[in-house]
């Protein structure tokens, strides 16, 4: 579900956030209109508004874990975790996390990749958010949900700044609620 349909209709911050996102045509390959959030994080007002909207939504939901997907999820998730007093857990590409990890495979357009999480970071009964900059097919987020559920966490919601057309009209992903701030600009 998009923020505008879920309590924030007409909120001027959403337009500011959308306007701050740069569209880069034909990246990483022809035909893709890449939604570039670096212009959002370099706009202090829009970046603060982004974090504030997520924090306002989650601060009273008893969230104990905020998981962020490498690497762009790392730009948003820690600030949310800090504001709501939750643990931050990085979900990383293979081989980056030291020590014992569990991993989940997910599909790419061509081939597969894996997402890893540290063992022992989450307790049964932990209530978790999963944060990434953008959701397209939902492959990475679905792998993240599976990782957190394998260690006994309850995934409360997945949240992204941008939701691509593949998820338009959907309120759930991998059985979990999906919350997005804005749609892509053309």
């Amino acid at each position: 579900m998009f923020a505008a349909e879920n309590g924030l209709k007409g909120d001027p911050r959403l337009k500011g956030i959308s306007d701050a996102i740069r569209v880069v045509p034909h990246f990483p390959k022809p035909g893709i209109m890449f939604q570039d959030i670096t212009t959002l994080v370099s706009n202090p007002r829009a970046f603060k508004d982004t974090i504030d909207i997520f924090v306002d939504r989650y601060r009273d939901m008893d969230i104990s874990v905020v998981a962020g997907v490498e690497a762009r999820g790392f730009m948003f998730a820690p600030a949310i975790a800090l504001a709501i007093g939750a643990k931050f857990i990085p979900l990383r590409k293979p081989g980056k996390l030291p020590g014992e990890v569990i991993s989940e495979a997910y599909e790419l357009e061509y081939g597969k990749d894996r997402l890893e999480m540290h063992v022992g970071t989450v307790q049964h009964g932990d209530r978790a958010l999963i944060i990434d900059d953008l959701v397209a097919t939902g492959g990475t987020l679905s792998a993240a949900i599976r990782l957190l559920e394998r260690v006994g966490a309850e995934v409360v919601e997945c949240a992204c700044v941008i939701g691509l057309p593949e998820v338009k009209g959907r309120c759930r992903l991998g059985g979990k609620p999906l919350y997005m701030l804005v749609e892509p600009r053309q």
Partner: protein
């Protein structure tokens, strides 16, 4: 009053230091890896980490916080948000869309390249460079060079951890380094 402030900082640093986990022989034998993920699991220690940087920089007119991929992306944005600065990611090759400038730096074996967006920063802006840890100083010095090439004034490099035996500080030229745990 002054003594209380000093004690409070010492207490915070002590908590931060003890929350960092050391993993032997990662990524290869002989390396004692300083793992900050356990710090991130302690909300008070993580908050104290950010607060200590914010207290230092909030009145220093910093316009830009440059964070080095990927662990610099964890610490840089909360600092940037708290001090009202832009966050600028310094990335591995081919991750940033659009026009970039790039800088090569040495690894133990071979080289790597760091990229920054053209137009992300303006000449005359005052910047911090943030990463979780300074080892040899190779990545930090590449970031300093990238920012310097476009006329940005790097005020300081800020890391949670320093490995002083690797003498990274000396590779930063005239740029100061601030760390919480040495």
């Amino acid at each position: 009053m002054a003594a209380q402030i000093v004690d409070s900082t010492d207490d915070r640093i002590s908590r931060i230091s003890s929350s960092i986990r050391v993993i032997p022989d990662f990524p290869k034998p002989g390396i004692m890896f300083q793992d900050i993920t356990t710090l991130l699991l302690d909300p008070m220690a993580f908050k104290d980490t950010i607060d200590l940087f914010v207290e230092r920089y909030k009145d220093k007119n910093i316009n830009v916080v440059a964070g080095i991929e990927a662990r610099g992306f964890i610490f840089g944005p909360p600092i940037a948000l708290a001090i009202g600065a832009k966050f600028v990611p310094m990335r591995k090759p081919k991750k940033l869309p659009g026009e970039v400038i790039s800088e090569e730096y040495s690894l133990e074996y071979g080289t790597d390249t760091m990229e920054m967006h053209v137009g992300a920063v303006q000449a005359g802006e005052r910047a911090l460079v943030v990463d979780d840890l300074i080892a040899t100083g190779g990545t930090l010095s590449a970031a300093i060079r990238l920012l310097g090439r476009v006329g940005v004034d790097v005020v300081e490099c800020a890391c949670v951890i320093e490995l002083p035996e690797l003498k990274g500080r000396s590779r930063l030229g005239d740029k100061p380094l601030f760390v919480l745990v040495s």
